[in-house]
């Protein structure tokens, strides 16, 4: 890349007479190299947090579904004792799965958001900034993660109120946040990738509805993998949600888990997701 030319211009006398434009005459110094992606991620996450600060309605309404899963499904199956959970109450077994599910539901509709942003001109405007597509997608993916962490905190509080015995260890809770962020980043990238293929909101809504439930039921969120038929176990092993739930269960409840494998798969899935979504982002802009 050649150097960006300096802006050789002088403010006229009129500028001095009108509003102070001094800084608007000097282009900011560009970040380069590895600093670009973290800076864009921080920018996108800051926007997400600002939006949540202004309007928490979505946070509350999205808490209804996990609350119903825990209250109705969880409480009932705890009494039935129909699902073997290795000696822990079913509600405790279920809570990490519901945290992962609520985070996935937020992330899986990020593709619709990016199509809306395309239609509203927001995406176009961002693509004209010096932001590589991969940095833009990474920013969006981690913004979904930040939103999902806030949502997960609400579900954790709900679960604690229902008597689920969870860890209070700050390190483990930090691990929970990382697992939620990585999982959400992957699912938002999956959604943005599909958006880059189907290009319209209507098609994406149909596909979003079609894949969320199979992803949820084809994971270990509701029942242990050992109970599944062979073919469903294979689906579960290929499903990043299973690794996220396994990590959350190990960190929050203390069940045996495979944290290195779980985080490894989630990180790899996120990288693949970012690569795929970045490659297709240009299709949306055209």
């Amino acid at each position: 890349m050649s150097a960006v030319p300096a802006a050789p211009r002088a403010a006229s006398a009129e500028a001095a007479a009108g509003p102070e434009f001094g800084l608007l005459l000097v282009p900011p110094r560009a970040r380069t190299g590895w600093r670009v992606v973290p800076a864009r991620v921080v920018a996108m996450c800051a926007v997400e947090l600002q939006k949540l600060r202004h309007d928490r309605t979505e946070l509350y309404t999205r808490a209804v579904q996990p609350a119903l899963w825990l209250l109705i499904f969880g409480e009932t199956f705890t009494r039935l004792k129909a699902i073997p959970t290795g000696g822990i109450p079913y509600l405790d077994f279920l809570a990490p799965g519901i945290i992962a599910q609520s985070a996935m539901f937020i992330a899986i509709f990020y593709g619709i958001m990016i199509i809306w942003e395309r239609d509203a001109g927001v995406l176009t405007k961002l693509l004209v900034t010096p932001t590589p597509r991969a940095a833009l997608v990474t920013g969006k993916a981690f913004a979904a993660g930040v939103k999902a962490v806030v949502q997960a905190a609400v579900v954790v509080v709900l679960a604690a109120l229902l008597g689920v015995g969870m860890t209070a260890n700050p390190l483990r809770l930090a691990g929970v946040a990382v697992a939620v962020i990585l999982g959400s980043a992957f699912f938002s990238c999956l959604s943005m990738t599909i958006a880059g293929i189907v290009l319209t909101r209507d098609r994406l809504m149909g596909i979003g509805q079609a894949i969320t439930m199979p992803l949820f039921f084809g994971s270990n969120a509701l029942y242990p993998v050992d109970l599944m038929p062979g073919w469903l176990q294979a689906v579960s092993r290929a499903n990043p949600l299973s690794y996220q739930v396994d990590a959350l269960r190990g960190l929050l409840i203390g069940t045996p888990s495979h944290l290195a494998l779980d985080f490894g798969v989630l990180a790899l899935a996120t990288v693949v997701g970012i690569t795929a979504a970045s490659g297709l982002l240009g299709r949306l802009a055209r």
Partner: protein
């Protein structure tokens, strides 16, 4: 690098492909264009004339297989990052985020243009002041009028001190007072900063009043290029019956049809225009 040329297009051609078996639609058909640094240059024409496609090529959004586009000497295909650092862009749609305040909207663009934290708030404040939105800066954008949103988008574009400001139909759907308000700020900022402004519009009266030079586009080609006064003089010279032509007359003279006849555009153009118009109320 020639600092006196802001935008240069040579034989720019773009065809939208519809599939392997169908013939594509040639949106831009071999245009040559030079925008001088510091001028306000208008790309005029009806929906579907090729204005937005040209703008998309200049703003690096469309990779062009045929022809050349450069901004201040930087090729828009091969040196995109450098081009983007020189651009401020306001798309046709109302693109500010209604879920944030005006200040937060501008801050986002300060961040993505790498404005250092130490000067971010001051630079954002200056951009908001430049478009006369200081008092409304901390209100949610959802409460802004259409004209205020347009001025906010101008602030978003100005915060990075661009050398080329690209405005795609900046006053579409606005009432005459809001249109005048937007142009007042564009003119003031341009006089103060000396930046180049490239604007597309199909309001000929605005182009006549605010543009130094204009290019009249129709069906993907430039039919005439010059200052509004030059173009009118040419029309009068070629057709003495038109003693005091307007730019509408100039368009009709060079394209062979009126703007009303020509307002076709594809479904996307019409949908975009209507959506913007409905959002500005």
């Amino acid at each position: 690098m020639n600092d006196r040329v802001a935008v240069e297009c040579r034989a720019l051609t773009y065809t939208f492909e519809h599939g392997r078996k169908k013939a594509g639609t040639r949106a831009v058909d071999g245009i040559d264009l030079t925008v001088r640094a510091g001028e306000v240059f208008g790309l005029l024409g009806p929906n579907g004339a090729g204005k937005t496609t040209t703008i998309r090529a200049i703003t690096t959004l469309l990779p062009t297989a045929r022809g050349m586009v450069a901004v201040f000497g930087h090729d828009c295909n091969t040196d995109r990052s450098a081009v983007r650092r020189l651009l401020g862009y306001v798309p046709q749609q109302l693109s500010a985020d209604a879920g944030l305040t005006g200040r937060e909207n501008v801050e986002l663009f300060a961040r993505v243009y790498d404005v250092a934290r130490a000067e971010r708030s001051e630079r954002v404040a200056q951009a908001l002041a430049a478009v006369d939105l200081t008092e409304a800066a901390d209100r949610m954008v959802g409460t802004y009028s259409g004209g205020m949103v347009r001025r906010l988008e101008l602030a978003q574009a100005l915060v990075s001190a661009p050398r080329l400001l690209v405005l795609d139909e900046p006053t579409i759907g606005l009432d005459p007072i809001a249109r005048a308000g937007v142009w007042d700020r564009v003119d003031a900022v341009r006089r103060a900063t000396g930046m180049t402004v490239l604007v597309t519009t199909h309001y000929m009266d605005e182009a006549d009043r605010h543009c130094d030079r204009v290019a009249l586009m129709d069906r993907g080609r430039i039919r005439a290029l010059g200052t509004p006064a030059e173009l009118k003089a040419r029309v009068t010279a070629e057709d003495p019956a038109l003693a005091a032509p307007t730019l509408d007359d100039v368009f009709r003279h060079f394209s062979g049809r009126t703007l009303t006849d020509a307002k076709e555009g594809d479904f996307g153009d019409v949908r975009r225009t209507r959506r913007t118009a409905s959002r500005v109320g």
